[in-house]
Symmetry: C2
Subunit: 352 residues, 2 copies
């Protein structure tokens, strides 16, 4: 049995989107059990429609919830007894293997840091996500948990991302582990060693000489994210967040153009009718809901942030990611690999 | 007459793409005269096909050219007599109002800085470009002439971008100037004042209290670029370049998906046939060639970099941008506005 703690009241839609999402997750994953935190009446209202799901949940009632526009510090102070906090505590206490919330990102990160704590040796947690690419998926981090960071922190992100990439690669294929180390690139503004800001150049220099769970491939540029040049792209949260949001914006622009183009004339409308299957295929491949779910890496527990605006399909992607990671024992792997990194740092500084 | 200096040998295709591009520019702009620098035999080979264009050009022969993979420092040392250098010098000497090159970006920037010099008071030149958006175009800078910069430099970029936005707004409508100040946003990872790296927060604080040719609207995020939230988006070259390249990558991903979707089945192929006009419309709106042309802002002269891989249509967009800016006297405007900014800085520091 895999137990996932769900903050049911977060996000724009709350239980209305979240409960159907859990039912989607259950299909093909009968071993999952959900601990659901939030307003019992609202949760049960939607839950009653899903018989199978009903048997696989435990509801923990609370009236208290973190507001989407609360500052992290305010939310943290008032968080005791909130659904978000209780769901995180379930992971801390070993009652669940992972927590998923669509609520306030800053509050979730602050609470997860306080409750779960970081893996020993980790400087700062990072947010990672899976990005779609022409030649397969790419893991990208940090997406905004931090702003500018130092070179050592970027190196730690490379470790966190590599372990995540390996866990994600195996996906739902239990057992069969791919032992090839994930390829890792540093996000920069050019591929030459002399390019870019100092923290990125220094991290590149360190990654090219240390032993870590990935294979360092040098600098990559913004267009490598969708190209699938490497399995893992490492960046500070400043560049990473701006890049992620830019990608979202371009995706939205294209969807708007697509709709307008197919409505621009009668002929175009007829075209849209005949192109129905091709357009459906395109829409599915471009669907950002398939890539929903930001993973907080570096914490002593699996915590996943769903986009606040996610609908049922979107939220289900985030929960499926949680199930995948809960299976992989990847927290233990991160602890081992960060320990290995710290050993090398000690060796390196002894050399000085 | 507007005279544009053209480095004919730069880019992936050289005169083969550049000469037809100039013919495109001439249509509707009979007042433009081109000074073309490069290998006379190769230039004339393509020029002979365009009778009208032939009457509007002067060719300056040189065998010497900057290679696409030369380091800027190497290119600079060996640049005397190269087509790129001669074209820049034509602007310096008042023989042309603007220069356009599809050659090596680093070399072009280095030469333009040495030959044209920066406008007095400017810390660092920036590269700006026009980006497409749902609600109209957005000017974005810096796109990679710099990496991380200080707050004062970001403030100067806001001035450079505002003057450019005004010149770009008037487009080819000679005379009728839109007097509304362009709206300006700072690219950041959140809209709250407390978010983001120090140099961005400090620049925001300065922009909210000084008088400059734009109207400061606060922080914007990556998805605001295509949303058209503001007329000008200011960032350092690190975040700006990564954002630009990410947008290019997503555009490429979508075009690949689109092609694949419409070839995936017989029905989809029939759909593509009926959807021809809608797809053509979409392709045109998404066409990155329409947005080709990076403007070096802050120099004593108009210098425009075309994408190296630009074809004739792409290169013509860069030249049309050059014609537009050559008309506007925008160098004089920048000098005035940077002077005004420096006066305020002096006043502000006297207040301390």
């Amino acid at each position: 049995m895999i137990r996932i703690a769900i903050d049911a009241m977060g996000g724009d839609f709350g239980p209305k989107a979240i409960i159907p999402a859990l039912d989607m997750v259950l299909k093909g994953r009968p071993e999952v059990h959900f601990l659901i935190y939030g307003d019992e009446v609202k949760i049960k209202k939607y839950l009653s429609r899903y018989k199978n799901l009903n048997r696989q949940v435990t509801i923990f009632h609370t009236d208290k919830m973190v507001q989407n526009d609360d500052k992290p510090s305010t939310a943290l102070r008032a968080s005791k007894g909130s659904g978000m906090r209780m769901a995180i505590e379930a992971v801390k206490n070993g009652e669940a293997e992972a927590v998923v919330s669509a609520g306030n990102t800053g509050a979730l990160m602050a609470m997860a840091k306080i409750v779960l704590k970081t893996v020993p040796g980790i400087h700062r947690p990072a947010i990672a996500s899976v990005m779609p690419g022409i030649h397969g998926d790419t893991i990208m981090l940090d997406l905004g948990a931090n702003v500018l960071v130092d070179a050592d922190t970027l190196v730690q992100f490379a470790v966190l991302g590599s372990v995540f990439a390996r866990a994600n690669k195996t996906r739902d294929q239990q057992g069969a582990q791919d032992d090839k180390p994930p390829s890792v690139g540093l996000l920069n503004i050019g591929s030459e060693e002399t390019k870019g800001p100092e923290h990125v150049r220094e991290a590149g220099e360190i990654l090219s000489r240390i032993d870590f769970p990935g294979e360092y491939k040098g600098f990559v540029e913004g267009n490598d994210i969708t190209r699938g040049t490497v399995d893992v792209i490492v960046s500070d949260g400043y560049a990473g967040n701006i890049s992620l949001k830019t990608a979202e914006g371009v995706g939205h622009l294209v969807r708007t153009y697509l709709k307008e183009s197919f409505k621009s004339s009668l002929l175009s409308k007829i075209g849209a009718f005949f192109a129905y299957f091709a357009l459906r295929d395109l829409r599915e491949r471009m669907d950002p809901r398939r890539y929903n779910g930001g993973v907080f890496l570096g914490l002593n527990g699996v915590c996943i942030k769903s986009h606040g605006g996610a609908d049922a399909l979107g939220f289900s992607s985030a929960v499926i990611l949680a199930v995948r990671l809960a299976r992989q024992g990847y927290i233990e792997q991160i602890a081992r690999d960060i320990g290995h990194l710290t050993d090398q740092e000690n060796l390196l500084s002894e050399d000085d």
